[in-house]
């Protein structure tokens, strides 16, 4: 019985959450430091996972398996394939930055405000989310996955509803009502998705007789478990709906702008860069593995929806007046790309999609956190309230620009690699869709540059004239992200090497071959 590494990666933040919550109210900073240390320790563990993971080894590695609920054959089964390992690493990587960026977000409001903000709670919740997300990346038991997939809604709900921006243009009252609206919306959307998925999970149990992903997938592969076509399609839809809500896919996306708009920037990053990834990841792992036929059956519709997400999200981002909502719609557009890559069912597309999850996490984190710093300085989320920041705070503007360029996937930065892979992968099978999706990059340039121009350039607005540049803490947050963006942009090999085998596995699950080049085909 070797050391349960995967369990450790999840248990550590969980314990950390409890401990942080237990810190006495007076020792606020102690709680912060504790949370930071725990998240860093988790990062170390995640790196160990990456190192111990052998790309050419078995599909699922570092597996653990214990009986849990014998009556229903529910087992506590963990294991990571390349995709899971990378995403665990991404999560563990982003949390420290989120904690650090949210250092003061949960400080008690200045005297006179009635709202008391429990600092300990804030950081404890973040760690709790980390634990659950990591577990849902590691769980290879459908039921186990479902539990954490749902459970992470609770801390997220409190994070969104409980902590907003320090200053708000409409005053605290309006802010809190909008916040609770956003939080409830987030909860309801995801709960509905989750319930439908629960039905599908039970259905799967009825059909398959157990919850183990590996066993079911094997049985599907060697044909010992054959579902009726309709059954498979219904189950697939049940799962996919939940993931599409989480992902979020048009037209199930409307909760995201509210949630990201009202939550503080770090929490917004937590939502879009960490939690939502579970949705796309689960599409790749569960939908494709468990229901290959149904996935192929649903592909055309899903691709069209993804396409709509890309264009629609980008267009709405152009139309936004609120920085955070703009980033939210941009994310919707990017999730469209990810889903496109997954369901294009080519190795480029799926590798690209996985890579995209990582890169989108980093780039959005960079952009959103800098935006958060900007907002915390001026106390407004409206683009119109800024102007000429570049002159007073060049470093802030510079990092903001880099984040923006990453969002428009400029070659040389990480997102370009993944986006191009997705596009190539899609184009290889569905040229028309690939071409239309490419329009997304023009729109991306449009909303990013418009945002940058309106906030950073032009004559200096009086409100921002005194704006200080990035502080040390904030630089510590941003600089590593920027470095990562550039590094993964020019040398993504480390990630792709881990991802590729897993993608090949998935491709073989859905029994799809990459289309061959015309010329070779001709020869």
């Amino acid at each position: 019985m070797s050391f349960p590494l995967l369990t450790a990666t999840a248990v550590l933040p969980a314990i950390g959450a409890v401990a942080t919550a237990a810190v006495p109210a007076a020792k606020r900073d102690a709680a912060k430091w504790l949370a930071l240390l725990v998240s860093l320790a988790t990062l170390v563990l995640a790196v160990v996972v990456l190192v111990r993971f052998d790309p050419d080894g078995a599909r699922y590695q570092l597996t653990e398996s214990h009986a849990w609920i014998k009556d229903f054959g529910v087992r506590y089964e963990l294991g990571v394939d390349g995709i899971g390992a990378v995403l665990v690493a991404l999560t563990a990587l982003l949390i420290p930055f989120i904690v650090l960026a949210g250092w003061h977000d949960a400080d008690p409001m200045e005297t006179g405000s009635r709202r008391w903000r429990p600092t300990q709670g804030f950081f404890a919740l973040i760690l709790a989310v980390e634990a659950m997300v990591i577990l849902s990346f590691e769980a290879t038991d459908v039921f186990l996955f479902y539990i954490f997939f749902e459970a992470m809604l609770i801390p997220m709900y409190f994070l969104i509803g409980g902590f907003g921006d320090r200053a708000h243009e409409h005053g605290e009252e309006v802010a809190s009502t909008q916040r609770s609206y956003a939080a409830v919306k987030f909860l309801l959307y995801n709960l509905v998705g989750g319930l439908i998925m629960l039905a599908a999970v039970i259905g799967l149990y009825v059909v398959a007789g157990n919850f183990s992903l590996q066993e079911i997938a094997e049985a599907r592969a060697n044909g010992s478990l054959d579902m009726a076509t309709d059954t498979e399609r219904w189950l697939f839809l049940g799962f996919f709906f939940a993931f599409a809500v989480k992902a979020p896919l048009w037209p199930l996306h409307t909760w995201l702008p509210n949630a990201m708009g009202e939550a503080t920037a770090p929490v917004a990053v937590l939502i879009t860069a960490v939690v939502d990834k579970v949705g796309t990841f689960a599409m790749l792992r569960f939908c494709l593995q468990l229901f290959p036929e149904a996935s192929k059956w649903a592909t055309p519709v899903i691709l069209v929806l993804a396409l709509i997400s890309i264009i629609y999200g980008a267009l709405l981002a152009v139309g936004q007046r609120d920085i955070k909502r703009l980033v939210a719609y941009a994310s919707i557009s990017h999730f469209g790309f990810i889903i496109l890559g997954i369901f294009a069912m080519t190795s480029q597309g799926q590798s690209g999609a996985t890579l995209y999850m990582v890169n989108h996490g980093i780039s959005t984190a960079a952009l959103m956190l800098v935006a958060g710093f900007l907002i915390s300085r001026r106390g407004s989320r409206l683009i119109a309230d800024y102007g000429g920041v570049q002159k007073v705070a060049p470093v802030l503007a510079g990092t903001f620009l880099i984040g923006g360029l990453a969002t428009l996937s400029l070659p040389g930065l990480a997102p370009f690699v993944s986006e191009f892979l997705v596009l190539v992968g899609t184009f290889a099978r569905y040229p028309a869709i690939g071409i239309i999706a490419t329009f997304g990059i023009v729109l991306a340039a449009l909303y990013t540059l418009v945002l940058y121009q309106r906030t950073m350039t032009g004559p200096v607005k009086t409100e921002v004239a005194k704006m200080p540049d990035l502080r040390a803490r904030e630089l510590v947050v941003v600089a590593p992200l920027v470095v990562l963006l550039i590094f993964l942009g020019v040398y993504p090999k480390p990630v792709t090497d881990i991802v590729n085998p897993a993608v090949q596995q998935t491709m073989s699950d859905v029994q799809k071959k990459d289309p061959q080049p015309e010329v070779e085909a001709a020869k």
Binding site: L316, G352, Q390, F427, L446, L449, P459, V460, N500
Partner: protein
């Protein structure tokens, strides 16, 4: 030797990194760091050039493989470089002109407190441009392609506090992005067609052609047209030319380096580099030539109407690149001359821009030529260098422009058939107009009586010669613009140098070379004469006359911006606004509507529970009745 290639790029890249991350402590020396590193890159280029010359003509191709960039199943993109004669030419042009302009900027940007960042951006541009011309596959080329776009975005918008500059920068980037879209789709198409997008297997060499030819002509035409779209974006060809005029918002050295000498010619590089593909797609080639012809006239006409000296020069740049594209579209006949014109143009146009910059430098950044006049007395060096550049561009016999442009016109006629006549005619007409507007610029700026007045702040400009750091580059470039053409042409040096890459093909021209030359001379004289008649003999009005319809249209870039504004900008705004509305009311409304209806329904259901025992009793009784009925029915059936 190969390992030096990476250094070419590394040097300016290092410079960019140091200068941009260095912080204020580098403000004092930043500009020199930048200039030195650019020069270093130039030196390395020269060394490599020497090395290539030392080799036999057919193995003048160096390659360097750094690392595997995107390794994915069935998809292979490497960070690897290929240095052949074509790239070499560009390397020398870029680093050479680039270094000079760095030097020039030292003086020009002296009073700008953000000079360090300016040099950082310049170095970034050099690195990206070198990457563009050195990449050994289309995807890496794409990186450089967008990299130069970024650099140009940063440099056009360098004076960000000016909204016009910021807007111009954004416009340039967006229009380029449209072109880039073409390039990326082209790469995808290559990948799906050939399974690779690396130059070597795809394009091959003159001896053994690559697999590019194996694909169906339709596919190749598609790829070629997409590449052309990319080229149009980067090289400001119709219909994507609208950004170049606004790009003049940037500092003048930028206009000289990026928007005259190097970046805007990337499109030509792309087409010539992809010659193997274009040769196999004659339809696409025809389109290329048409685009070139249209643009060269378009640019020339715009150039005639502008009173802003830099915008006039921008128009001329557009038009000159039109020549190159036209030549490139002619196939192997024209490739060499396209590149040669590109190089010579690099010299004289950069020189002209630097001259313009020097003029503005002396005139408190006044750009309106109607407020110049008689400057030759005040800034003689500028006058001479600018004049030489002027003679070069209008194709004055013996100067570089004469050789390169003449060849292109010749080649255009040599295309043969009616399109040969049409293209050649267009080229000739272009030459005439070029002579006209350049003469106009020359006269309005340096001749006539002085027309400048106190500017808004009320202090009279005191035109003076620019400092040494600015004049030296101008002089060097003037030398280039005088002698380069002759040097290249005599003994077909340039032809022999490039021929292994581009291939060569002397079409059979319906007109003899001399006829063409004579014709060129004639139109040249005509153009100059008309211009002199208009601007030399009678004084130039300080306020621009209303002018003819064409003039007014030309002042507005032939209404292209208005078209964009109405169709794209307005339309886009409406689209996004309506979409935002839809998202809020429809997509969101459906959801909220369901929630509301559920709530209302449950509220109504709640009424049924009125708490009165008797109504519960009624329901029980009714239930019993129904049960009995059910049982009876069961019995009955």
């Amino acid at each position: 030797m190969e390992n030096l290639i990476a250094l070419l790029i590394a040097a300016p890249l290092l410079g960019a990194a140091v200068l941009l991350c260095g912080g204020r402590r580098l403000d004092a020396v930043g500009h020199w760091i930048g200039t030195v590193l650019a020069a270093v890159s130039f030196v390395i280029g020269v060394v490599l050039f020497a090395d290539l010359l030392g080799r036999s003509a057919d193995d003048r191709t160096l390659t360097q493989h750094l690392w595997s960039w995107i390794p994915v199943e069935g998809f292979k993109a490497d960070v690897a470089f290929q240095l052949d004669q074509l790239s070499m030419t560009f390397v020398l042009l870029i680093t050479g002109v680039g270094s000079l302009i760095h030097l020039y900027s030292v003086g020009y940007m002296e009073h700008d407190e953000r000079r360090r960042r300016f040099f950082g951006y310049l170095n970034l541009f050099l690195a990206a441009m070198l990457l563009l011309v050195l990449a050994d596959n289309y995807l890496l080329l794409y990186v450089g392609w967008e990299g130069v776009g970024l650099a140009s975005y940063l440099l056009i918008g360098f004076w960000q506090h000016k909204p016009s500059a910021a807007t111009a920068a954004k416009k340039a980037f967006l229009v380029n992005r449209v072109g880039d879209m073409g390039l990326s789709i082209a790469v995808m198409l290559m990948f799906t067609t050939f399974g690779t997008f690396a130059f070597a297997p795809l394009l091959g060499t003159q001896e053994e052609p690559g697999i590019a030819g194996d694909a169906s002509e339709g596919t190749l035409t598609g790829i070629a047209l997409l590449l052309l779209l990319a080229a149009c974006g980067k090289s400001a060809q119709v219909p994507l030319q609208s950004w170049l005029g606004d790009a003049m918002e940037g500092p003048t050295p930028v206009s000289a380096l990026i928007h005259a000498a190097t970046m805007v010619t990337a499109g030509v590089y792309l087409i010539v580099r992809s010659g193997a593909i274009f040769n196999a797609a004659p339809d696409a080639q025809l389109v290329v030539t048409v685009v070139g012809a249209v643009t060269l006239l378009f640019g020339a006409i715009v150039g005639c109407a502008k009173d802003d000296i830099k915008k006039a020069l921008a128009g001329s740049t557009m038009s000159q690149i039109g020549y190159m594209v036209l030549a490139a579209g002619l196939g192997p006949i024209g490739y060499v001359w396209a590149i040669m014109h590109l190089v010579t143009h690099g010299f004289f146009k950069a020189g002209l821009f630097l001259g313009a910059g020097s003029v503005m430098h002396g005139m408190n950044d006044e750009v309106d030529m109607r407020r110049y006049g008689g400057l030759r007395k005040y800034m003689p060096i500028t006058f001479v260098t600018f004049g030489l550049g002027y003679l070069a561009i209008i194709g004055f016999p013996g100067l570089s422009g004469f050789f390169s442009k003449d060849k292109i016109i010749e080649a255009a006629f040599a295309k043969g058939g009616t399109e040969g006549w049409i293209l050649g005619g267009a080229a000739l007409l272009g030459a005439a107009i070029t002579a006209y507007y350049m003469t106009r610029v020359m006269l309005m700026t340096f001749f006539g009586e002085k027309r400048w007045q106190p500017d808004a702040d009320g202090h009279e400009p005191h035109p003076h010669e620019s400092p040494r750091s600015m004049t030296i580059p101008m002089i060097v470039l003037a030398f280039g613009s005088v002698f380069a053409g002759a040097f290249f042409t005599i003994g077909d040096r340039f032809l022999n140098w490039l021929e292994p890459v581009t291939g060569d093909d002397h079409g059979h021209s319906p007109l003899s070379a001399t006829t063409v030359t004579l014709a060129t001379m004639v139109v040249l004289v005509v153009g100059v004469a008309i211009a002199y008649g208009q601007y030399g003999r009678r004084p130039v009005p300080v306020v621009a006359p209303r002018g003819s319809m064409l003039t007014r249209a030309a002042r507005r870039d032939l209404l292209q911006d208005d078209f964009n504004h109405v169709v794209l900008v307005r339309g886009g705004e409406h689209l996004t606004r309506s979409l935002v509305y839809v998202d809020h009311t429809l997509v969101d409304g459906v959801v909220n509507g369901t929630a509301a209806s559920v709530g209302g329904l449950s509220g109504r259901m709640r009424r049924v529970q009125n708490g009165f025992v008797r109504s519960y009793a009624v329901s029980m009784f009714g239930g019993a009745a129904i049960l009995i009925a059910a049982t009876l029915l069961m019995r009955a059936v």
